[in-house]
């Protein structure tokens, strides 16, 4: 759906109304995953593997089943065979089948009348393991003789001679890279390392499942996509999709980590066996051990530049560690790495390698931050060596409308240059720096998704409007959807109530991911409103006894147009709604679409960092985010995305990492040892929104949520490197790591 050709003055878009779910969320009334209960509800608990890699010889659940108060015990045997190998991986991740593949992998589930009894029952389950050699690091997992996670599945041995742990390989690019390097005045080549991080949502996974003896089931859970939960759970339980209704609770953060299932199929299987509702809530320890995390990476980057700053060629070899099951995030990394640059010669390749760690889950712009970081760090190093301004160099090489992206497509209108220029002109960029301080610059990119979307919109007889959408609202989307509906219909924002429907009440919707909701659900909402307007105009034409084409919709009123202009008094939406029963019945509009045209997104971040040369301790002194949001529907929530993403990226750059012991066990499964940024770590995060309309949306909206986590890794790393006068090439940049580089 294209940008409206008629330029319009927005009345509601760009304002900052209160969000409709706000009062519930400041009073404690909002119901999140763990806040729901049901009569007769049981508590479900999951037994998890103490080993990183082991064969399950046997599981004896008889003692647990015999314990008074235990109502059901399930293992992998209680699930159906999944419909394909990707789905089977999802199921095997929820409940180990034959082998445990990581520390914390689920082995069995119990449901009991109390949490205490459920915990006691877990202890009574006897699992006999044959412990196998394990592997958790990239370089170890590709050694020819490395332990292989799925020996029966013929995974690749590419690059040549690696162990069969490679789930996916990738290759993108164009032009003659060798000739490009030959034309360079300076080439920098470096290897960069990042550690796995967790999405770190504050709300642990939680669900409440209830299945009757007739096989009909209801599931309440915190998820980014309840239709996806329905599809996966139905498959895993051998159910017909129509038998399972899933309702998404309010969601306490997801960032990609709640786009799949973990405990939901287990709760359903327990409920089926027990004949009672079962609630499972993960502990924080389980969240760290068995959900999330993102990939870890090892990337070689080589870039050539002329002495006046033109990039002559770029190459990257990316290696992404993806946990115990196959993943294709390497594609997204290889596609993002050089997306900000207009290059004649570029080549990216790489692979995903499996290890004995939890299965990689999506994390905000999955695959992109770890690919853009090494490229942006090398560009920074080239700028320093050649005495060039890092923003000027990026402007000189920036992708623009018409650029053939390193991954194939040609960009439409994009905001990278405008964003770079805004950063250059901002007072932050010219502010003086003190001793031991450095300013880092990084650009960042994300694709943005569209996808399957259904929206329905109905007029109430008092002239208010109900909008029904099917994407969990993770950060204010009900506000932006209501705003777009109000804008299109020409009625006040307050007259609209948008709700997120359960899976039975609306057509299919893809997961809330890919920064797709404000774009795709917005687009479908506008189309649904237009459908309702069309009906309203037809009804009014009937009343006036004129041609429906001769009625136009303007500012919430149907008006006679053309030769009839002025002949009849305009009728408001409320007037039309009030007599709908007399003009043909209820009035509603709906729209179903697989939306494309999401419009890629670029951002630029500036980070001022101070490093204590004695301790290696870093302080973020000042931070500014510049991003093209397309039309910003609700600027406060756009800013919020920019700030939140930046801070997650700062955490990735400075503190956060999964730490494994020699035994393959996770050492820091808690917020004390896995430290996410807290308020006192941070300065204010300033934001500058650029609005370059997305040609693929009627109002020019683009997704904004993911891009902001891409630049901070390099922005902070470049800031630290400039502050200490040496190049950092591994994250997180903890004080000991920085000290080591300082001391050389």
């Amino acid at each position: 759906m294209a940008l409206d050709t008629e330029k319009r003055e927005f009345k509601i878009l760009g304002t900052r109304p209160l969000r409709p779910d706000g009062v519930d969320k400041v009073t404690g009334r909002a119901l999140y995953g763990a806040d729901m209960s049901a009569p007769g509800m049981l508590t479900g608990k999951i037994l998890r593997s103490p080993h990183a890699h082991a064969r399950i010889i046997s599981i004896d659940t008889s003692a647990a089943e015999a314990l008074q108060g235990v109502k059901a015990v399930v293992t992998a045997n209680d699930f159906a065979k999944a419909s394909n190998s990707f789905m089977q991986d999802g199921l095997d991740n929820c409940m180990a089948r034959g082998k445990v593949l990581y520390h914390g992998h689920a082995v069995a589930g119990v449901a009991a009348v109390s949490e205490a009894i459920a915990k006691q029952a877990l202890k009574l389950i006897a699992v006999e393991y044959e412990v196998l050699p394990h592997v958790t690091e990239i370089l170890d997992a590709i050694k020819p003789d490395a332990p292989v996670l799925h020996p029966d599945r013929n995974f690749k041995r590419l690059p040549e001679g690696t162990a069969a742990n490679i789930s996916h390989t990738t290759d993108f690019g164009h032009g003659d890279v060798e000739a490009g390097f030959a034309a360079a005045d300076l080439i920098v080549e470096r290897t960069f390392k990042t550690e796995a991080t967790h999405q770190g949502y504050i709300e642990p996974h939680a669900c409440l499942a209830s299945m009757g003896p007739d096989g009909k089931a209801d599931l309440w859970c915190c998820t980014q996509g309840h239709y996806n939960v329905r599809g996966m759970c139905a498959d895993y339980l051998g159910m017909n999709i129509s038998q399972l209704r899933v309702t998404a609770s309010e969601i306490g953060g997801g960032f990609g980590g709640k786009t799949t299932v973990f405990i939901e199929p287990v709760a359903l299987a327990l409920s089926r066996k027990a004949g009672k509702p079962v609630k499972i809530v993960m502990t924080r320890d389980e969240v760290f051990k068995a959900s999330g995390p993102t990939l870890s990476s090892l990337t070689d980057v080589k870039i050539g530049m002329t002495k006046d700053g033109k990039i002559t060629a770029g190459y990257a070899m990316l290696r992404y560690q993806c946990g115990a099951f196959p993943s294709g995030t390497i594609d997204l990394g290889a596609m993002s790495a050089f997306a900000a640059y207009d290059l004649d010669a570029v080549h990216t390749e790489g692979f995903n390698v499996m290890t004995n760690r939890p299965r990689e889950a999506a994390y905000r712009a999955p695959g992109a931050p770890t690919a853009v970081y090494p490229v942006e760090a090398v560009v920074d190093e080239l700028c320093l060596e050649l005495g060039l301004d890092p923003i000027d160099v990026r402007l000189l090489n920036a992708a623009d409308e018409g650029t053939k992206a390193s991954y194939g497509p040609t960009f439409e209108a994009i905001g990278l240059k405008a964003t770079l220029e805004a950063a250059k002109a901002h007072p932050h960029y010219s502010a003086p720096l003190g001793p031991n301080q450095g300013r880092g610059v990084s650009a960042g990119f994300w694709f943005n998704f569209g996808g399957n979307t259904s929206v329905s919109l109905s007029l109430n007889d008092d002239g208010t409007v109900a909008v029904t959408e099917g994407n969990p609202d993770i950060g204010g989307s009900r506000a932006s959807i209501s705003m777009m509906a109000a804008e299109e219909l020409g009625i006040p924002y307050e007259n609209i109530r948008t709700i997120v429907a359960d899976t039975n009440s609306l057509g299919f919707n893809d997961v809330t991911d890919g920064s797709r909701v404000t774009f795709a659900v917005g687009l479908a909402t506008i189309e649904a409103a237009r459908a309702a307007i069309k009906i309203m105009c037809t009804r009014v034409a009937k009343i006036w006894d004129i041609d429906p084409e001769a009625v136009t919709w303007e500012d919430g009123y149907a008006k006679p147009a053309g030769e009839n202009a002025g002949k009849y008094d305009p009728m408001s939406l409320a007037e039309i709604a009030a007599i709908a029963n007399k003009t043909g019945g209820p009035i509603a509009g709906h729209h179903e679409v697989n939306a494309d045209g999401a419009g890629v997104s670029f951002g630029v971040h500036l980070a001022d960092i101070e490093v204590d040369p004695e301790t290696g301790f870093t302080k973020v002194l000042r931070y500014t985010v510049f991003q093209d949001a397309g039309k910003a529907v609700h600027p406060s929530y756009v800013e919020g995305q920019m700030q939140g993403g930046a801070v997650q990226g700062i955490g990735w750059a400075l503190n956060e990492e999964y730490i494994y012991g020699e035994d393959g066990r996770l050492q820091n499964a808690g917020f004390l040892d896995y430290r996410i940024p807290v308020a006192s770590d941070l300065p204010p995060i300033d934001t500058v929104i650029l609005e370059i309309p997305n040609p693929g949306h009627p109002y020019g909206v683009r997704g904004v949520g993911e891009t902001p986590i891409v630049p901070p890794l390099a922005a902070v790393s470049n800031g630290v490197s400039r502050a200490i006068g040496k190049r950092m090439s591994a994250l997180p940049m903890s004080p000991p790591k920085i000290l080591k580089v300082i001391k050389g």
Partner: protein, 158 residues
């Protein structure tokens, strides 16, 4: 199991409950009393989502035994608004769009209220350090801090 009988006061109302010796105040608030405003983000005192006050003192209710509430006064986020009148902090959090998912917000509100009762005119740095025990993964804290500072100013003016 020997349950303990507790007589306490929650948000100004007299409350009695039976609890197990190992149960936390958070468990009882959420599971026995259906006061689900306080959230469990970690259960180990590291996230602040379960913040309540006990005789005016800010605590993590996941670290307080339910039995310890005997004879005390507990306040939770549910006790912040006065009927349908929101507390200034609640209003400011909304006006500043300082919440995204909102799961941290009950804890942030209870903690901020405790801050402003003790320090009606906090510096921004003071607010940041006071709230350092309340994790928010969505917002980067910027708008939360602005909302708290704005509420403090308005409460001083009022």
């Amino acid at each position: 199991m020997n349950k303990i009988h507790v007589t306490t006061n929650i948000n100004g109302d007299p409350v009695e409950y039976l609890c197990e010796p190992q149960e936390t105040l958070l468990d009882v608030l959420r599971n026995n009393l259906q006061l689900t405003g306080a959230k469990e983000g970690c259960g180990s005192g590291d996230c602040g989502a379960c913040s309540v006050t006990l005789n005016g003192r800010l605590v993590c209710s996941c670290l307080v035994l339910a039995a310890e509430a005997e004879g005390q006064e507990v306040t939770t986020v549910e006790g912040m608004a006065d009927g349908d009148k929101l507390h200034i902090l609640q209003k400011k959090i909304l006006e500043h769009a300082a919440l995204q998912c909102g799961i941290c917000i009950p804890g942030i509100l209870v903690a901020s209220k405790a801050l402003l009762e003790k320090h009606p005119d906090p510096s921004e740095e003071q607010a940041r350090y006071w709230l350092a025990g309340n994790l928010c993964r969505c917002t980067g804290y910027d708008k939360i801090i602005n909302a708290v500072m704005d509420a403090a100013a308005e409460m001083r003016g009022a």
